[in-house]
């Protein structure tokens, strides 16, 4: 089957980790968000790892538009990931951490303006010169989220992006992610345990279950 021209196409993707295995078939159009849900340990993060190139698939294809990216090296994959932890270099300032997301660690004035707007919107603009070690978990998560979303990568993988946020900040961040996703025509996959997250922001939901095929 030919891949769809726009968006992310995952076709007959087989993944095996220890005794568990999964098979995926789904499509996410550009400017859309896919919520990845399932019980703890069911393989949600493994799926993101495979899409990001950190874990090998047994077989299957991953297309971005018409380009197959399944065999691309991690450094060449058009993917930006928010991991569950260690998203910021503790020995660098927030500003340095944010700049590392852009080409040659030097964002253009327009890109940096976007960063500053996001910092202000998400309430962390005061933290720019600080090091992550003095920030709260929620502040760190928002800063990492800003870098991940504003990088020039079409596919964004978010692994529990709002886990350290209170309800109000969670809504603020979710709305912002949705806005950036639509405005910049990104493809966002978001692992979450909250059904509300999927209802609020996701265009579709993928339920992950091992040992059987999992389709949207």
């Amino acid at each position: 089957m030919r891949p769809n021209k726009l968006g992310l196409d995952v076709r007959d993707l087989h993944i095996r980790r220890e005794s568990l295995s999964w098979r995926y078939d789904f499509h996410v159009a550009t400017g859309q968000m896919l919520a990845v849900m399932g019980e703890s340990g069911c393989g949600k993060s493994t799926l993101l790892d495979t899409l990001g190139g950190f874990y090998p698939a047994e077989q299957g294809q991953i297309y971005l538009g018409e380009q197959s990216i399944a065999t691309l090296d991690i450094r060449l994959r058009p993917v930006s990931t928010l991991f569950q932890q260690y998203n910021l270099f503790e020995h660098l300032t927030v500003e340095q951490n944010l700049k590392l997301g852009f080409c040659k660690a030097s964002p253009t004035p327009a890109q940096w303006q976007q960063v500053e707007q996001a910092l202000a919107l998400l309430g962390v603009q005061e933290q720019l010169k600080r090091k992550p070690s003095v920030l709260s978990g929620g502040q760190r998560q928002r800063i990492a989220l800003i870098r991940v979303m504003l990088r020039e990568q079409p596919i964004v993988l978010l692994d529990e992006p709002f886990s350290a946020l209170d309800a109000q900040t969670r809504r603020l961040c979710g709305d912002w992610v949705k806005h950036v996703c639509q405005e910049q025509q990104k493809i966002v996959l978001m692992v979450t345990h909250e059904a509300m997250d999927a209802q609020e922001w996701a265009d579709q939901t993928l339920w992950v279950q091992p040992l059987q095929s999992t389709d949207v």
């Binding site: 950190f54 270099f89 020995h91 660098l92 340095q96």
Partner: protein, 516 residues
């Protein structure tokens, strides 16, 4: 086919191995001179061997036993004063140039030392007494830092739990403290044993005759004074064999945390009055023991005759020493970062173990053995008179490599554990990653490594003794020759200068200081 930019790492590892192989090759005779096995029937050989083992054993046992109460007081007694200063001083003592210490000890315990009148008629400083004092001074601080770090690693909850369960002091020690200590005591004792067994400068200065000499000094004397390569070869092989066996044995006994910086701790149980008193007395005595020999240099240096002091020579010698130490420590930095670049690229545990073994194997080969091997190998091809300085710099780099590797390994490992995926995801170029992220992360540890290796190279005696020459002495050799000609005041002043430079370098490159 390997890419061109991947070649420097393997080349570096091959170079490290090649130096040792070349030294071994030379020691195996290589068609010139076979080892003189007849030494086995010489009583002096067995005397030297016995003394080497006995002094090393006593030094390690005494250092470990004295370190335990001091380290415990440092870790648990919140009322102890100047703890941070003392722990920094300990680091300096461990890498202190031996000649500084020896000059201080002679001023305290020597024939006309300040404390000698109180030590009785039978007191003899030169020989086992002096060697033990010096070795304990150099190694007690190392043991204190390692044990203190172990005590500080005990989690706060373990202390709270033992208090809530109403444990007595001995129960807490047995159930909470001893389990974290026992794993490291044999390794620390073994490591100190090896350092003392390989000791050169201390034994050269304070020993004498077969009854107070070690294999390391005997090799030096066989080569430098008698030019008897056959005897040197046999002694070097003996030393290598013993050190190799002991090294493998001690490595199996446990792992060291080396000289990790002390950490701030949380809640700790209050100690009984008697235990606190014992701990404070031990701490006070350790402070006195580790400070007095150096303080003694001040009044000793005051007695110099300014008019006849060789100022010009001191200046030249100091600059030369600074040059050697700077080049050796910079070479070391390049070398250790290079080794880690290969280590990080290797994903298999086996390949990493091989790389680690290559980086650490110089710990097993005493500096004197390495020096003798290289000296003999290249003797027919080049003039050491002319090129000895190159060997001094490179061999000082090699002997410090195991220290540097072990210091850096936890930091590199932690970096990869935490950030390997993030670095890949950010798609930073190799140079940008190295310059903007990796080096800033390692900077505190790199600075400590740079400082320690600088001071170690600055105080080197063993390698210089083989490759150096009188026309371009280094500061330790100037001190040695001044003390040898009974110019103790001059030696004390030069020792103070060496000490001052060491303190300054460690202070400037100290991670806490640098991060401000």
């Amino acid at each position: 086919m390997p890419r061109l930019d991947q070649l420097p790492g393997p080349l570096l590892l091959s170079g490290l191995l090649a130096v040792s192989l070349v030294a071994f090759w030379a020691l195996m005779g290589w068609g010139r001179s076979a080892a003189d096995v007849s030494l086995l029937s010489e009583p002096w050989f067995w005397q030297v061997l016995e003394f080497s083992l006995v002094q090393a054993l006593l030094s390690s046992v005494v250092s470990v036993l004295l370190a335990i109460p001091v380290a415990r007081a440092l870790a648990l007694d919140t009322g102890l004063v100047a703890k941070a200063w003392f722990l920094r001083w300990c680091l300096l003592c461990f890498v202190m140039p031996s000649l500084v210490l020896i000059t201080g000890l002679v001023a305290l315990f020597g024939r006309s030392g300040y404390l000698t009148p109180w030590l009785g008629e039978h007191w003899r400083f030169y020989g086992l007494n002096g060697i033990l004092l010096a070795h304990v001074f150099l190694n007690l601080p190392f043991a204190i830092r390692v044990f203190c770090h172990r005590w500080q690693m005990i989690p706060e909850t373990a202390w709270k739990l033992s208090s809530q369960l109403g444990f007595r002091t001995w129960q807490t020690f047995w159930l909470v403290e001893w389990p974290v200590l026992r794993g490291v005591i044999p390794a620390v004792a073994g490591f100190i044993f090896l350092l003392c067994f390989n000791s050169f400068a201390v034994v050269l200065a304070l020993g004498g005759g077969p009854s107070a000499s070690t294999l390391e000094v005997a090799i030096y004397q066989a080569l430098k004074y008698q030019f008897n390569p056959a005897e040197a070869l046999f002694l070097a092989w003996t030393q290598l064999l013993i050190v190799g066996v002991l090294y493998v044995l001690f490595r199996r006994l446990g792992k060291l945390e080396w000289l990790s910086p002390a950490q701030e701790t949380g809640w700790r149980p209050s100690q009984g009055a008697a235990i606190t008193l014992i701990g404070r007395c031990a701490y006070g005595m350790a402070v006195l023991f580790l400070v007095l020999p150096i303080l003694t240099l001040l009044p000793a240096a005051m007695r110099i005759n300014l008019a006849v002091f060789p100022w010009d020579e001191l200046m030249q010698v100091t600059l030369r020493s600074l040059g050697f130490a700077s080049l050796a420590s910079l070479c070391l930095l390049v070398c250790v970062v290079g080794v880690f670049s290969v280590w990080r690229q290797s994903t298999s545990a086996r390949r990493r173990a091989i790389i680690e073994a290559i980086a650490l194997h110089h710990l097993m080969i005493p500096g004197m053995v390495l020096s003798v091997g290289i000296y003999l190998f290249f003797l027919p091809y080049l003039s050491w008179h002319e090129w000895g300085w190159v060997a001094i710099i490179l061999l000082n780099t090699l002997v410090a490599l195991p220290f540097a590797f072990t210091q850096l390994k936890p930091a590199v490992f932690e970096y990869d554990q935490q950030y390997r995926r993030l670095v890949s995801d950010l798609k930073l170029g190799a140079w940008r990653h190295f310059y903007c992220v990796y080096v800033p992360y390692l900077r505190p540890t790199l600075q400590r490594v740079l400082g320690m290796s600088f001071v170690l190279a600055l105080g080197d005696m063993a390698i210089f003794s083989i490759f150096g020459r009188d026309e371009w002495r280094t500061l330790p050799w100037l001190i040695y020759s001044l003390a040898g000609s009974y110019r103790m005041a001059d030696a004390a002043l030069a020792a103070l200068l060496l000490m001052g430079i060491s303190m300054l370098v460690l202070r400037v490159l100290e991670p806490n200081n640098a991060s401000k």
